[in-house]
Symmetry: C2
Subunit: 333 residues, 2 copies
Amino acid sequence: MNIYDVSKKANVSIATVSRVLNGNPNVSDKTRAKVLAVMEQLGYTPNVFARGLGLNTMRTIGIMCSDSSDLYLANAIYYLERDLRSNGYDAILCCTGYELETKQKYFDLLCSKRVDAIILAGSKFVEMKPRDNTYILDAAAKIPIMLVNGYLEGENIYSTVCDDQAAVYQAASRLIQSGHKKLLYVYTSTSYSGSNKLQGFKNALADAGLPLLPEYIRQCRKDITAAKELFFSLKKEGLEFDAVIASDDSLAAGAVKYANTAGISIPEELSIVGYNNSILSLCSDPELTSIDSKVEALCTTTVNTLMGVFSGGNVPSRTTIAADLIKRETTNF
Amino acid sequence: MNIYDVSKKANVSIATVSRVLNGNPNVSDKTRAKVLAVMEQLGYTPNVFARGLGLNTMRTIGIMCSDSSDLYLANAIYYLERDLRSNGYDAILCCTGYELETKQKYFDLLCSKRVDAIILAGSKFVEMKPRDNTYILDAAAKIPIMLVNGYLEGENIYSTVCDDQAAVYQAASRLIQSGHKKLLYVYTSTSYSGSNKLQGFKNALADAGLPLLPEYIRQCRKDITAAKELFFSLKKEGLEFDAVIASDDSLAAGAVKYANTAGISIPEELSIVGYNNSILSLCSDPELTSIDSKVEALCTTTVNTLMGVFSGGNVPSRTTIAADLIKRETTNF
DNA sequence: TTGTACGCGTTATCAC
DNA sequence: GTGATAACGCGTACAA
């Protein structure tokens, strides 16, 4: 079942069939109707491989993420796929894990699959050492590379980021304004996004004239139980804190469980702010005040930018989107 | 940059290059080394479209799910992609939403993309009315259809399911044995998986000689807050219950929040069992006893079965995997 | 062990 | 407005 069968049955050439297929206006209405009827009758579908061979594109985008079961990334993938599809593109998903070597390997793999672009979801792809990013720059020589909530400068590389720094700055400032003096910042990673959040925290303290004490900045695995234990051990250390800002809801959820267990009242004795406005912020009791990092907007913008790149438009290499502070029960502002 | 360039530079024919490419043993070591060197030097990658055109396969599997940001499905997608890739297959992701019409549309779309098989993740694809499933049966005439935690009988259709019925039966029986008399069952949907769970509940009551009261079987949106409100309204109705079995952790999490708010002690006054052993079971306080539906095993088995189908092996059209009851803090067994 | 020639199903470029 | 034909790049009989 191919274009020849259709052309034969419709008494036209394959060129005409192809024209009908691709909406070329240079076909008479009569011929078009005839061809369409035959296609319908034969249940003909064009072969995407042959088409890909000629056009050298399959209208397919590679999406890379470290772990599609991560709450944030799962949402990102959902929105990316949805928006790509509504633009007529398929998404090939590729979960790379966290090691540089496998990330590079999968990157090459996607390139060799002739995807039309690669979207890097999450801030885990840009490495600290510039030379560890050359594989991305190399790929950008061939196809557009889109970063969702990550930033890398380079030709044919486009970033859409959330203004994490401003968001954390705002949250910390709010806490300080409402009387908190001992803010604890807990974070999971030092990625692009992670270091921006931390910077926002530092700036807020500085602008409020509060001291920046290293023991009030702690790292923790992205794990509710691990976070809970961290807070208990901090308490044991004798560290006093009246507010927690977490770089991820899971850590904030751990803080809630810690406070509930230790008999510390929220938000009277301890205020807590999470990040990502995930399902965990609704599952926690009391519910988490959390920073909404606007995944959907980030993804939609990324896809729109990509479409702009395809159509040769002049698109910004970097777009920043403001976060939202969602107030719930773990803060009194 | 194609196979001709390589053959020219290596002074061999394209056939030889092709043989090297595909690991054909009929090439002398010397020639092979020469060709490989040239490939390396030119940075040559075979064109997948041309290859796909000849072989009529791109080693790509379509994964369909209703919503990739759903906790359960996000995990399923992760494992499916991982296992497919380790078998040398790519995964095209397709989130269909919940409407039959769009599901059908995306199904056709994937078929027209000439994927080698379609994996249906989650039990939301098999409809109650048999005629609403004909689109799946039709597709199965062309390519294998794999169901993850859903069941449909038909040629070239393979199901891997979790024994939900036995799992709920066991949980309910345990609750009854430990002295509970008024078990409330809350569920989200009446899919294949959903009706099995319910049947397990009914059987447990029957085998224990307890009455089956319709007011003790309630439906609720998959939403923590909605669930919490449901329990409050049931209490207001005057319904008494000493145990809750939920078809999803989100409903169980709602039950925990209800009990905490209403001052009901867990598990002394109210025992709660969730389903899926998701992150919510760890976020709840106390942590949820939950049924682990073994997503990873389900996915691995699905992919293995699919590989069996491809290699022409005799594979079972239906595989059942036992669930695990993970005991935590919301039950006293 | 190696090479030649054709088929795969499109799209695009001509000529008419 | 339509038709013939040449790419597109690879796999693979078949021949040597």
